[in-house]
């Protein structure tokens, strides 16, 4: 029988089991007698073995089988789970992951270590990095009278959910987006023709499209846990690597976001955690000297606030010193000494998001060369999110990400500039102003304006788009206040045209190579306007 058609399904399910194995091993590191974790590990290894055997993937089935045997020793209580055993299980999970992804690896050495494993005679030394805490258990393991773990509740319920190819979901969103555009065209026509029957029918269509949109977008939602499940393991490994003690506390990871946003969060979240462990947390002796526990705490919490999800990554480490950040930025020539003096402390923290900024005393192979915060902010803004920072020297730092629930259908502000209509994601805009021209300051050939006691650069969107400045005769100019690549600034436009919910279509080859454009939007008039990508425009 040709099993290749089931390969994709096998990989997807095996990945889920491997994530669960990683979580359960970390739980066991903190609680060596946790029967639920032992049973869940056994069950995951058993499932992978069964699936791989059906697919005739010998190496995967063999390694999973040996893991199952290995876990059975602990399940029967013959041996206590020790630190060396959990290390070995994590190695197995890593190798299984590589095999599942199609890499050619020889598991014989690891299998031999599993088979010949002898637990340490004496209790092992205290683990240098305690197991990271995972907030939510993945459901209770239910054991049958003979001790064989029963299937998870999800397996028993089978039939209530089905796997759907992501391409189908993407197509559904596209069709819904087209319907939204079409509805807006009809609304425009209904208004122009002043036809009560058409207005009534279009309003009914609007209601149906909104309902469809809600359901289709809901089908694309995934829990944040899809990208956070592997993070406790990453924090554990990072902390060990730099000789620190750290635990990751997760909360709110059941919050759901669009699949595209979830996928784009993987690298930024990992980078924020790396920074927290590598640069934020002090070494254990320094923490004890500062009156803190030797174990540092890094937390990742998420909650929903109206149409946004707020994710906060916090640590209880040394915090950031705004004065030191300013001095470093001046020394690197990123800002002038005068600009540095004018920066309020909250703005100084954002200097870390400027390209080329790093205050790490030395480059480490954990956090690299400090190029990360720029990339983190850019990635977050690319999906329509924002990044904010708070820090207190000696007490720690908090990075807050605000994300939309979806990317395909978003609210935008339409503006006129450079003789064009243009769209900007609402989430990219802090404020819109009618700025009195008398508040504009000219210094060293640059335009600035005062906003909440901070001097912000004032740029022209026309200029950024390579068009001449529009002649301004009015007393005020329309300005967007936004935060781009670690700096707050004002953008002068010709006119504000209003807000609208739109369906954004991505640009393909070759136009996607043009900086500053994130996609296109078709308005109710049929006009195609571009969604701007400010970070790449500046």
């Amino acid at each position: 029988m040709d099993m290749s058609q089931y390969h994709e399904l096998f990989v997807a399910e095996a990945r889920e089991h491997l994530v669960a194995i990683g979580e359960q091993v970390l739980t066991l590191e903190g609680d060596t007698g946790n029967r639920e974790a032992i049973n869940a590990l056994f069950r995951s290894a058993h499932s992978i073995k069964g699936m791989a055997a059906s697919m005739e993937y010998g190496a995967v089935a063999d390694l999973a089988h040996r893991m199952e045997d290995f876990m059975d020793r602990f399940r029967k209580g013959a041996d206590p789970v020790d630190g060396l055993a959990t290390d070995l299980l994590l190695e197995c999970a890593d190798l299984l992951g590589q095999l599942v992804e199609g890499q050619s690896r020889d598991p014989s050495d690891l299998i031999s270590r599993l088979v010949t494993y002898v637990p340490p005679a004496a209790p092992p030394d205290e683990d240098p990095a305690p197991a990271a805490a995972v907030e939510e258990p993945r459901g209770e393991a239910v054991a049958s009278p003979d001790g064989v773990p029963a299937p998870a509740p999800e397996e028993l319920r089978g039939g209530q959910t089905i796997r759907v190819r992501t391409g189908v979901l993407d197509h559904l969103v596209n069709v819904t987006g087209e319907l939204l555009t079409c509805k807006q065209r009809l609304l425009q026509i209904a208004q122009e023709d002043a036809s009560p029957r058409l207005v009534e029918a279009t309003e009914e269509l609007s209601r149906l499209v909104r309902e469809l949109q809600g359901n289709v977008l809901a089908a694309r939602l995934m829990p944040l846990a899809a990208v956070t499940a592997t993070l406790p393991r990453a924090v554990r490994d990072l902390a060990r690597k730099v000789g620190k003690k750290a635990a990751l506390v997760l909360a709110g990871t059941e919050i759901e976001l669009d699949r595209a946003i979830i996928e784009s969060l993987s690298d930024p979240l990992l980078h924020l955690l790396r920074n927290a462990v590598d640069h934020g947390l002090e070494p254990p002796d320094a923490r004890l000297a500062a009156g803190k526990p030797a174990n540092g705490t890094v937390s990742l919490t998420a909650f929903r606030e109206r149409d946004q999800v707020v994710i906060t990554v916090a640590d209880d480490g040394r915090g950031m010193d705004p004065a030191r950040l300013v001095a470093a930025a001046v020394a690197k020539g990123l800002i002038s000494a005068e600009e540095g003096e004018a920066l309020p402390p909250s703005e100084a923290l954002l200097l870390t998001c400027r390209p080329g900024f790093s205050t790490a005393r030395e480059v480490t192979d954990v956090s690299g060369r400090g190029v990360g915060m720029d990339a983190v902010q850019t990635a977050i803004q690319k999906v329509g999110g924002t990044l904010a920072m708070e820090s207190e020297p000696g007490a720690g730092s908090r990075i807050q990400l605000r994300l939309p629930l979806t990317v395909a259908i978003i609210p935008v502000l339409l503006v006129a500039a450079a003789h064009l209509s243009l769209a900007l994601p609402i989430t990219a805009i802090e404020q819109t102003l009618d700025l009195d021209r008398q508040r504009i300051i000219r210094r060293d050939g640059r335009l600035l304006f005062l906003q909440h006691e901070a001097e912000l650069p004032l740029l022209s969107l026309n200029r950024l788009l390579g068009r001449p400045l529009a002649a301004v005769r009015e007393r005020t100019v329309p300005v967007l206040v936004c935060q781009v690549r670690g700096r707050r600034l004002g953008l002068v436009v010709d006119r504000f045209l209003g807000q609208q919910e739109v369906f954004v279509k991505p640009l393909g080859r070759p136009l996607a190579s043009l900086r500053g454009l994130a996609g296109t939007v078709t308005l109710g008039t049929g006009e195609i306007v571009f969604l701007l990508d400010l970070p790449s425009l500046l």
């Binding site: 003789h419 788009l465 393909g508 070759p510 190579s513 043009l514 500053g516 078709t522 571009f530």
Partner: protein, 143 residues
Amino acid sequence: MTGDADRLLLCRVQGQSFALEVMAVAEVVESPPTYPIPRAPAAFLGIMTCHGIPVPVADLAALLGSRPAAGAGGTVVVLEPGRAQLALRVDAVEQIISREEVLGENPGEGEWAAATLLLPGGAARLLAVDRLVTDLELLLGRC
């Protein structure tokens, strides 16, 4: 019977004949409405929609070094979306011929020429579409 893989679309730009493999072409549209593309070079006349897909229109004459057309008017050859989201403005589409009608083939001469085709009515430059799209990506990446 001749399939799309064996057919060529012939068009004319500034008095010269060009050929595109029919497999690379999605549609031919007359004077579609277009909207300006910010920051794009002058050879990009604007963006149009083809079956819901946003497609930039580039003036083939301008890409080859002539002055860009005043607007997107004229005939627009929309490329297969799988190859690129791009349409080329040409002066006219002449006909579709079978490869069997090609009398001979010489090495390509000039920009994006995959070959010079010898046809009963004269020579035509067979456009290397993938190379053209790659070069446009590089051009736009420098803007």
